[in-house]
């Protein structure tokens, strides 16, 4: 049976009001035009602007900007932070979803709410809370200074803030899926004599691998791109505590636009790659990723 509701743009004018479940052509054109203009204006143009501005002063300037020592240090720091935060969050996500999906206990909804918490907290506050704990005037400030441990304005602080902001991504993809899958496979494996860990690695993990990949990709994109939280804890020390987004800010504030956009373009490329992988996973493995499309 033909789908009479989805109207191609250029269908001839309805005959006697058919198809019934769509609007007249002028209305359709107006709505499509509005949608396209809005999306191009608000989404595509900014993206294009990044690349145009990055290359405005020529390829030479561009390459110089991204290979400059401070920029390279920023790239290294960004990669390092992601390399610590993402695996940590993967372990957390697996642990949390194992607990939530395979067992019945009181307080699950509280746990779920806690996991969703970072999404409702401003990035600045996400950094603020660690400054309050570990900063010079923070609760542990004197103790840390006495022992010459640097958390704020150093790598550990940046990692902590990044973890706070990104840990929900993996967990949120795994929990609904594992809840949907239930405990049958694991119980079957256990009844056949497999140990807990073996069951986990050989039965559970394969079942959730695409959702895990999806969560990792989102987590990584956010970890590398986080700005507000890291900005608060970082100290902005060139070459030492600047991630790529922070480096972009510094360059921009110095009116070094070409360089700022050059570094930004790397992040934009990362975003595009993330989008491609994300869409690819959604199209191919839609049923093996979280049942609800949530962000």
């Amino acid at each position: 049976m033909t789908d009479t509701a989805v109207a191609p743009l250029l269908i001839p004018e309805p005959v006697a009001g058919y198809p019934v479940t769509t609007e007249r052509l002028p209305v359709r054109i107006l709505l499509i035009a509005t949608a396209v203009v809005f999306l191009v204006l608000f989404l595509l143009l900014p993206l294009a602007a990044v690349f145009v501005e990055a290359l405005r002063s020529g390829l030479g300037t561009y390459l110089a900007a991204i290979t400059e020592p401070d920029a390279l240090a920023a790239v290294k720091l960004t990669l390092l932070v992601a390399a610590i935060a993402v695996p940590a969050n993967v372990v957390f996500g697996l642990a949390a979803s194992w607990a939530i999906a395979k067992f019945e206990f009181k307080g699950k909804s509280v746990l779920n709410t806690l996991i969703d918490l970072p999404f409702s907290v401003s990035p600045v506050i996400s950094g603020l809370i660690y400054v309050v704990l570990f900063g010079a005037l923070g609760y542990f400030g004197p103790y840390l200074q006495g022992h010459h441990i640097q958390i704020i304005f150093a790598l550990p602080g940046i990692v902590l803030a990044t973890i706070f902001v990104t840990f929900p991504f993996v967990a949120r993809e795994l929990v609904p899926l594992m809840q949907e899958q239930g405990t049958q496979d694991e119980e079957a494996a256990l009844s056949l004599g497999a140990s807990g860990w073996k069951t986990f690695f050989k039965v559970t993990l394969p079942n959730i691998r695409w959702a895990l990949l999806y969560g990792v990709v989102l987590c990584n994109a956010r970890a590398m791109g986080e700005f507000g939280a890291v900005s608060v804890v970082s100290g902005h020390i060139r070459g030492k505590t600047n991630t790529m987004p922070l480096h972009v800010e510094i360059l921009y504030n110095e009116y070094n636009f070409a360089a700022a956009f050059a570094v930004a373009s790397l992040l934009a490329l990362l975003a595009l790659i993330t989008l491609v992988i994300k869409i690819g996973l959604e199209w191919r493995y839609a049923d093996q990723i979280a049942a609800s499309r949530r962000h």
Partner: protein
Amino acid sequence: MDARAVNEVNSAAGGIWPLSWTTWWDRPMHVVVDNVVRTFGVTPALHGVSLEIEPGELVALLGPSGSGKTTLLRILAGLDIPTEGRVMFDGDDALTLTVQQRNVGLVFQNYALFRHMNVLDNIGFGLRVRPRSRRPSRKEIRKRARELLDLVQLSGLEKRFPSQLSGGQRQRVAFARALAIEPRLLLLDEPFGALDAKVRRDLRRWLLELHNKTGHTTVFVTHDQEEALELADRVVVMSEGKIQQIGTPDQVYDTPNSPFVFSFIGESSVLPVRVDQGKVWLDQHKLDLRAGDVPNGPARLFLRPHDVDVLDNAPGAIVGEVSVLRRHAGLRRVDLEVGAERNRIEIELPADLSLNLASPVAFLPRRYRLYPASQAVET
């Protein structure tokens, strides 16, 4: 229904119908479908279907899925447009009318009730969206909606929401909603398909009563032949986009005109035979059956399993060997192997007949049909 009958029914119903409401009763609609073809791309769903529906008739479009019955219904409703052909409502071309203009009442299998409105608002919807000139006052709309609620025997449920109703209740609300716009034609798309067996039976009875009360021309689509035979004034048997037969329930059951209709309606058993010079032959054995005007050559004998007489070795009987015996309520189902080719045929016999495996049984069908072998059974 004439005005006198209208008044009788009205007073019998306690006079709940304001007289203005009876205006549509004396003009139920006459529908003509003329050679309607509907193709989707290269796939034809309807191959030139023609049909005439008398005012006030309750007609069933019966057939398996893919037979085109729903397509035909949607064309009548205005939800679909035929590629060729005409549809006439009381002599006017219906195809120039949009769905909104056709004034048909539609009832869907899955109710299609508006979940964000309560029952009363659902029923009154069709009246509320009318252009100002034809729109009754809000009070009047509420009044009519309540009357319809009484008609479908759901009084008191005005404030409920569809999610708070059972399936049978939802469907009755859907009927009330369709009736509210004073339609000239009622179109029902497998209206009881989503309901439990018991609710289905109850609603079938209810629909018959409703139809007798209101007298609308009604067309309903179903794949359930029991339902069609029970409810319809006439049954339109369809298959693969074509009409196989139109007739009263008795006609399509007793005198089916094709193997498809015979096997679709009621139970059937088939036996390959040969027709030669007006006589029916099974292998070398002449059967005491009339060949009618079936041409010479291979043919198929269709009979109803329960419609047989057991004969003791009468010369013109069909003889077979029992291969399977099954008890079926108060009767016995017997699979026989018949003839040189040991064709299997199933018949129903009284349980008190003593039978064993491999014992011979001779029988003749009381009523039967013969079709040339070339007339295929489409499913």
